[in-house]
Symmetry: D2
Subunit: 312 residues, 4 copies
Amino acid sequence: QLWCHRFAGLRSYATPHSQFFAPSEGIMLPAGSYNNKVAFITGGGTGLGRAMTGVLSQLGAQCVIASRKLEVLQQTATEISSQTGNKVHAVQCDVRDPQAVSRCVDQMVELTGLPDVIINNAAGNFICPSERLSANGWKSITDIVLNGTAFVTLELGKRLIQNQKGASFLAITTIYAESGSGFVVPSASAKAGVEALYKSLAAEWGRYGHRFNIIQPGPIRTKGAFSRLDPTGTFEKSMIGRIPTGRLGKPAELANLAAYLSSDYASWMSGAVIRFDGGEYVSMAGEFNELRKVTDDQWKMLETMIRSTKGS
Amino acid sequence: QLWCHRFAGLRSYATPHSQFFAPSEGIMLPAGSYNNKVAFITGGGTGLGRAMTGVLSQLGAQCVIASRKLEVLQQTATEISSQTGNKVHAVQCDVRDPQAVSRCVDQMVELTGLPDVIINNAAGNFICPSERLSANGWKSITDIVLNGTAFVTLELGKRLIQNQKGASFLAITTIYAESGSGFVVPSASAKAGVEALYKSLAAEWGRYGHRFNIIQPGPIRTKGAFSRLDPTGTFEKSMIGRIPTGRLGKPAELANLAAYLSSDYASWMSGAVIRFDGGEYVSMAGEFNELRKVTDDQWKMLETMIRSTKGS
Amino acid sequence: QLWCHRFAGLRSYATPHSQFFAPSEGIMLPAGSYNNKVAFITGGGTGLGRAMTGVLSQLGAQCVIASRKLEVLQQTATEISSQTGNKVHAVQCDVRDPQAVSRCVDQMVELTGLPDVIINNAAGNFICPSERLSANGWKSITDIVLNGTAFVTLELGKRLIQNQKGASFLAITTIYAESGSGFVVPSASAKAGVEALYKSLAAEWGRYGHRFNIIQPGPIRTKGAFSRLDPTGTFEKSMIGRIPTGRLGKPAELANLAAYLSSDYASWMSGAVIRFDGGEYVSMAGEFNELRKVTDDQWKMLETMIRSTKGS
Amino acid sequence: QLWCHRFAGLRSYATPHSQFFAPSEGIMLPAGSYNNKVAFITGGGTGLGRAMTGVLSQLGAQCVIASRKLEVLQQTATEISSQTGNKVHAVQCDVRDPQAVSRCVDQMVELTGLPDVIINNAAGNFICPSERLSANGWKSITDIVLNGTAFVTLELGKRLIQNQKGASFLAITTIYAESGSGFVVPSASAKAGVEALYKSLAAEWGRYGHRFNIIQPGPIRTKGAFSRLDPTGTFEKSMIGRIPTGRLGKPAELANLAAYLSSDYASWMSGAVIRFDGGEYVSMAGEFNELRKVTDDQWKMLETMIRSTKGS
Ligand SMILES: NC(=O)c1ccc[n+]([C@@H]2O[C@H](COP(=O)([O-])OP(=O)(O)OC[C@H]3O[C@@H](n4cnc5c(N)ncnc54)[C@H](OP(=O)(O)O)[C@@H]3O)[C@@H](O)[C@H]2O)c1
Ligand SMILES: NC(=O)c1ccc[n+]([C@@H]2O[C@H](COP(=O)([O-])OP(=O)(O)OC[C@H]3O[C@@H](n4cnc5c(N)ncnc54)[C@H](OP(=O)(O)O)[C@@H]3O)[C@@H](O)[C@H]2O)c1
Ligand SMILES: NC(=O)c1ccc[n+]([C@@H]2O[C@H](COP(=O)([O-])OP(=O)(O)OC[C@H]3O[C@@H](n4cnc5c(N)ncnc54)[C@H](OP(=O)(O)O)[C@@H]3O)[C@@H](O)[C@H]2O)c1
Ligand SMILES: NC(=O)c1ccc[n+]([C@@H]2O[C@H](COP(=O)([O-])OP(=O)(O)OC[C@H]3O[C@@H](n4cnc5c(N)ncnc54)[C@H](OP(=O)(O)O)[C@@H]3O)[C@@H](O)[C@H]2O)c1
């Protein structure tokens, strides 16, 4: 498949520079940091949600994971729980349906009480030229990502406020929420909406003890994301070529960041939007970054030409 | 130390400084700039949409205005048309309904052919503490603002692409789309989504001859906006107090900007987000701007105290 | 599934899509818009500064242009003045030197009185890998761009305040001021500083009758910029390839925008940052925009693969 | 822990809801996380720099702290070192002088070798109406903040590249770097420049094994910052009133964040800009956040008025 041109590749160095950026996948926070805490993670059965659930559970949290596929959730719950020794509850919930969200919270209240930590991670996405996108295609994504996040956040927020209980809310968005991006337009729009939702509530609901933060991940290989965004695997190469740290992210790295942001160590952090992308965004966005392809010899020539410029 | 020397300037409090920023409400673009052009404006029957329609019509465009209230549209159409001598067509359309949008475009095609200029201006909004917001309340706004804009844009985009016709798209959002804001959370989220939609399509659909730009207005008095956002009128005073230009904006000023952006004079502008707010946003956002309240005498005292600081 | 239906549209490749975005280089504002106004333009002798001076002069302004090379300024002044019939004054000034700036303003006061319009357009730049950059290289750019703009702005601001005279300030920055960019690092840093300066003063000095706005141009061919940023001309092709409007900008287009922003039609605009780049920035920054290279046939294959994805 | 001075005259304006956001001032990272690492911290003798040095030292790093006042540095070095058991070196350096920076790095190379972690924290600032600001006042801040950071970063970057050694760079800026702010204009401009510098190098120098990140702190009481920005203490109260978490930040909280970002746990994070401000920024920037002052009874009345609105 040739649809995705190879990047000109990295310059040849003695060692690929990603060696400088080896991932640390061990758990960062002190053991027990989440003892006596309850965490609610949407989409916690797979991918990044699963990784975050694993870390919070390991740190002592009781976790509730919710999404559409109960079997997937239950298997994840059993696996994590057996590793960490802490309970993980699986609750079926389609976040697009406010009634379902309400029932899910009812169930959680029975199981664990209201949560201390909420992670809005559930999402849908696929690549598609926008002129091929129907109104249904648009809604299939925005209903999950934007409305789903809003329904979960409003439902939990109201109950927490009624119970005078503080909480940390975290949303997982994407680096193209701010810039927009063609070919994933419903996702870009919905994720941008989620960011505004969280920044708005960070300002409004601090008085009720709630914090709201956002992680914008760059590419981290998960089956869910990559099968719908890069089915042939060719896009990945070109992404790695422009990521300054020279590699994709790891779910465990994101999970450590999420665990930090949701913990009391970050109790003064609210309204923050944290790009976590190996530098991909700044690398793409900067107009002259393409000059990394220029070789040393070419630079010498360019310098001579520039110096000889007269006048303006 | 000379870094902060005595300054003999005069404070502007004696005369209201808005005198320096008197609005120019005449039409800016050359007459005939929109001759032989068709413009489609959602929410064109009232407020800012009406003002933009008036200017485009005056400049020679044939306008199609669309919203739910046909009578309001018709009255506006008649009034503008009788003033400008150019046709203004009223088409009923609830932008939340993709079928209705499609029928509306069918009607427009019959009346005028596909448009050269599209302005997504229709919106809904109200102030409300988020803990009082139901799922329906959320959707009542986001369905209009985000889904409505998407349906209109996708429907028109596809037809224009099929007909190999270029066009300028403009969305009217708000200054709190970027920052978020409490108490208008569905609007903030939906408008942020609209911005991502337009930035995304600016990148994706340039190849089809389409431009996409955004105006973020600050407070401009219209019946629609102010009756739902400041029903008692008390908020207005405090807004004016923090707007550096010392006054609200005028619909005619916004209309001139919109006419420029939608015209061929701006044919190289795409993906731009233009704040048009009298400076309100930067004034609110800057951490130390509150110091404008400090008097000259107080500054003298403060300087003395700062200079006497020793060490760090 | 209907979300990404077959679309019968035509690709734009047959005809270069820049045909849809033909530049309008005539003057946009009404004749006489700048009658009885004085405009001060740094770097007004060449490139974009010259184009802006030409338009303001044509619209009735008396212009003062200032930079280091008096001869260049004088020739430009003579040429523009002879075309427009309005006076253009050439004043030598190295903006890095606050004393020189002060003397230049003294001279202007004699010639024309204090200005109504100030355009900070002077700048320096060159491409260079940052590991080759000396402290002097750093300062050679930042002293002009950041300090120079500050000295001009503070000097004129103070005098205008003392004279209770309002004014419009405009700064010309660049699209990579916000994102940063490798290989032009001093320029990126200094231009970002200029933007903060202007947003800060928009908030602070509104009370004195001053507005502050910013244009971030994308690539517009001028001898000054292109000889130092793309001496071989190879970079230009790749820029055009990613600009959604398919072409570089024209000095006359920028001049029309600048004339609008500095005019009374924009008297409510302050603190705005206007990207003017043919869509280049959003095109570069969006993570999936590279998929524009995918052909129709490849999309068909991709859709099949995505649809067959099971689970997450 | 004593590495962070208690500040005399502690007032507490903390709001009742700040109970939900009690600070966690213990060290977050696993013991030994910085074993065998060298950290270089400018301004490490006081305030936030001292706090970060304390945490890194506690975690095993050998630290080099540099600023103008050698005595202050030496006392801090001795105190921290005696607590943590790890060496802290004091090196005199005025970052405004590239030669001094080079000599300082020479000294560091002798003492510890090149660093793994660089924190650009040194800064100057004071409040001042911009019309009272001289060119010298402007330079007194920008020379430290922007040029100083550039000189340190370029000098260390070059040496690290020559030695093929990777490193993490962190800059401490401020929340008003993005928005700008009146009354602290040189600081706003210079900090914005620092952010562009770091985003640019994140893109450019990844290939050499370097990461670049930014923390934008909100108000954290230190003697250095508060004596020059709020000498009377009256501003503090109003800041706390608008901070959603209802309190100022603590140096130890910032130090934990900085330790995370500079550690291998964040080896995939580059080009990130992390606001750390208790939510102050989003709270200030959102246009309708002032409505938090509206009481429950007033909301009831407002709702009735809004509902009775007819038409638009
Ligand atoms: N991986 C990346 O590179 C990357 C990059 C940027 C952002 N992200 C974001 O990271 C998050 C996790 O993505 P991932 O990569 O881990 O992919 P994933 O495994 O596909 O995760 C998506 C999750 O969302 C759940 N979900 C989907 N629709 C739902 C609905 N209607 N109701 C409830 N749950 C629903 C799915 O579970 P069910 O199918 O059981 O409902 C699934 O567990 C997403 O927000 C994604 O946008 C990922
Ligand atoms: N005025 C301001 O200060 C301000 C500030 C920031 C942003 N804005 C934005 O400016 C735009 C215009 O606002 P405005 O102040 O002129 O208020 P407005 O007069 O209330 O305009 C809103 C328009 O949207 C139409 N609309 C609402 N729901 C619709 C639907 N479902 N389908 C089709 N049309 C619909 C309304 O017509 P029908 O009722 O007939 O449907 C109305 O004409 C809005 O996007 C607003 O968010 C205004
Ligand atoms: N062209 C583009 O594609 C592009 C893109 C983005 C931004 N810009 C910006 O647009 C502006 C104009 O650039 P341009 O393309 O027109 O290039 P240009 O012709 O080289 O303009 C630069 C001007 O700055 C003046 N200048 C340089 N150093 C000065 C100093 N120390 N004191 C006073 N004046 C000084 C020069 O005049 P003297 O040599 O006589 O001093 C010259 O007239 C710049 O701010 C540039 O950064 C341009
Ligand atoms: N505290 C806050 O609320 C806050 C908020 C936002 C941002 N910040 C940022 O946090 C950082 C630390 O501030 P702080 O509150 O800890 O204040 P601080 O104690 O005053 O720290 C400033 C440090 O910079 C050093 N410094 C100043 N000029 C220097 C020069 N020319 N060369 C080398 N070092 C120099 C000072 O040491 P010498 O005097 O010995 O040179 C001092 O140690 C600064 O970047 C500040 O802008 C602080």
